[in-house]
Symmetry: C3
Subunit: 350 residues, 3 copies
Amino acid sequence: MAADPRFHPSAGPLTLGQLAAAAGIALPAGVEGRLFTSVATLQSAGPDDVSFLEGRRWLPSLRESRAGAVVLAEANAHAVPEGAVALVSPAPVLAFARIATLLHPPAVASGAIHPMAVVGKGAVIGEGCEIGPYAVVEAGAVLGPRCIVGPHAHIGPNCVFGADCRILSHVTATHCIAGDRVTLNPGARIGSEGFGFATARTGEHVTVPQLGRVLLGDDVEVGANSCIDRGSGNDTVIGSGTRLDDQVMIGHNVRTGRGCVLVAQAGISGSTVLGDFVVVAAQAGISGHLNIGSRARVGAKSGVINDVPEGMDVFGFPAIPAREGLRVAAAMRKLGRSKAAARMPETKSD
Amino acid sequence: MAADPRFHPSAGPLTLGQLAAAAGIALPAGVEGRLFTSVATLQSAGPDDVSFLEGRRWLPSLRESRAGAVVLAEANAHAVPEGAVALVSPAPVLAFARIATLLHPPAVASGAIHPMAVVGKGAVIGEGCEIGPYAVVEAGAVLGPRCIVGPHAHIGPNCVFGADCRILSHVTATHCIAGDRVTLNPGARIGSEGFGFATARTGEHVTVPQLGRVLLGDDVEVGANSCIDRGSGNDTVIGSGTRLDDQVMIGHNVRTGRGCVLVAQAGISGSTVLGDFVVVAAQAGISGHLNIGSRARVGAKSGVINDVPEGMDVFGFPAIPAREGLRVAAAMRKLGRSKAAARMPETKSD
Amino acid sequence: MAADPRFHPSAGPLTLGQLAAAAGIALPAGVEGRLFTSVATLQSAGPDDVSFLEGRRWLPSLRESRAGAVVLAEANAHAVPEGAVALVSPAPVLAFARIATLLHPPAVASGAIHPMAVVGKGAVIGEGCEIGPYAVVEAGAVLGPRCIVGPHAHIGPNCVFGADCRILSHVTATHCIAGDRVTLNPGARIGSEGFGFATARTGEHVTVPQLGRVLLGDDVEVGANSCIDRGSGNDTVIGSGTRLDDQVMIGHNVRTGRGCVLVAQAGISGSTVLGDFVVVAAQAGISGHLNIGSRARVGAKSGVINDVPEGMDVFGFPAIPAREGLRVAAAMRKLGRSKAAARMPETKSD
């Protein structure tokens, strides 16, 4: 089955020639004119669908697939069943992404401002913007052209968004300046008060006013229910092309470079700085005031409490170089299997 | 004190006969006509309240309770104070649940559609539905009879919900098809874009369109601020009777069986498959593309990186069989107590 | 650069005399009349800004700062550059918080009820309250004077809030009674159904009605997208002055004392009791039905499965006294470095 047209209408049919061109794929002769309407998995694709081989473990599915065309690496092209076109690419995922985007392009702003939206005094709504029911764009906010503002989205006073942004339903964005093509998924909270206070001798916690902003670069994407707190004095900065999954938490004054990837439920504490293309896997945490070098990668569930040099993979809690971390895990597992270890005397070795 | 009637109005008074029948409890003679209005803890119950003994540690509270009746296991019935009725059940929690539900039934759809709700073109609202202020039901969506849609809830185009669903305040549900009696608690996000992209050589992340759906079985419950992303091509599927606590994250293409239980802040990465009645405890994480067998249980904070066979309990990170995992924990603790271990030479054993 | 006036307007200029008085700081002669408009970091401050030295590592920035005045400890006063006034305080963070609050006071309720807000029958709105667009205050709810209710906030039937509360955008608050000066940040969920059910032999999960409330003391602050479930029978209670960061999860029947601090993504399972001034660091979890003594501290990512005595620091999973926990971490790290450990025979020692 191709994508459900109730939710994902097709822009097709498109010719295989059009699709291959978008993906930089050379076609065998005589197939350019074949028509395709959607994409689908190997198991569910039909002759009008382009499919995709994710890895060698799916070769059996490939052999039995009814797909009209399949994107894959050259090494696997031999397994494409008769009648299907092999779309050979050195970067199959990327090529498939381009083809799928052509057949199912992202929604385009309709240009309609719903009568049940509130637009505050002096707010500037760019040409072609779509604003959904019950959205609130407060006074002085600026939206670039062709932005989509979903139902119930709340854009605070004087916020700025560039062109082609998507601010989806139930988003709160305050104290925030964003570039072009920024996507905020449902329930994301941008610009909330950071967790800053001083504790008096009486035990009373006194708020330190959080007087910074959130700056989002171009092409930033923020997952559902993720939070990016505004800076306390400096700004919180998310570099261009950085992507946050759902339920990620970014503390005040954090700065990320370009193209970072923060997977679900990860958290970055206040004032930590990430270089470019840093990857933080799911449920990992990074302490405050650290420097994480460009292209460093933090393993899932890890807890980073020291700076990480450029390009290093770390793992565990406290996070250590991944090779050592994996050895720790292996040794720990052995401890679990060794009755002697479990019986190890507690004080004798003192 | 019984339940606060401002928040939990009573459907009572009901007779003990009615309550006992609902719970499958045999009554001693002569008490069927006693009237009860609410339920309460042992410490706060009065003569009009049914109470409940959760375990033997609460026996002292039982002896001093002023409750009119107490649900408990037979072994503890001897401790019920004079004047109170012992409601003996082989499954006391279940019996208490049935009694409490009779006295405090869940809210029923009022049948009113608030004038400040937006219902899109072609949407079908089932008989008796209640739709709250500022709710948005988009074009083509279908709600079965007696659904409750809370304030500000957002139901996307063409979504389908069965009968008696509760879609509470601030929910976003898009790209989603749900069965009967589904409950989405406040702020739940169903059908958001999964975290799918390909990275070009330039470092640019290119979105892989997420063209699947979310399918929710009957009786699924989703906690506050939890997220279930839609599939990338296949669907994300939550089996009937599965319950998610608050702040749970379900990645794209995950499939769960029937009756699974996912406790607060747990996360399941993309394309992992859970069998029936799997339990994932709080803050646990499961990597992508794994198979977790039916009735397996994953301990709190564990990180699962391998398949788990049916019925196995696992624990730790990386998660291992729970028995071994507990030995690891014991051995680790001993390492902490042993000065020698802390002094263990780093390189000598090479 | 001082705080961006688009987002953080200044109440100044104020004299240094006014500011110093608020912070309990003694001034050198002749500077009381100097005027200040904002606060800023050492690097970005100009002559109209008060700045702040957070610790000795920033002394080089202090020496080059153009700030007009700097709050700091006496020991560092020598490094204040010529022309800047040293504002010496024994509690510099606290003093700076008071000065910043004077220059950038929190928003005050405007007294306006937006025409696009829904206020239910019998709801009582205190004098001077501000209610934003699309907010819903249901029947019978009570708001004290000068509360701010943000856009799309949802206050359930019969909820009670004291004076000067801030219930920001997209909050859901139901089944809840709150004191004065309570702040609920965007997307917080107060009073949702707790995760309570009994499982029948068939595997069916049967809801145990959640018939309690949430009680919030004075000065409680709840971070963005955090969740506090209502009690199952008893109440969930958050003590006065307690602060929750973003994405914190509090299960049903939890009780915290005064002034607790729960950092981002921490979770407390049902029925656990925290004393006063307990600190739970980021991503930590505490099992249910435990007692955590006053002034205990739980380290980041720790998992607490036993009671913690008053004043104890614990760390790790399972959490143990922090000193031991750190030794475990050190020993584990060494295991990772030792090839012998990784080769340790699995069964021989049996």
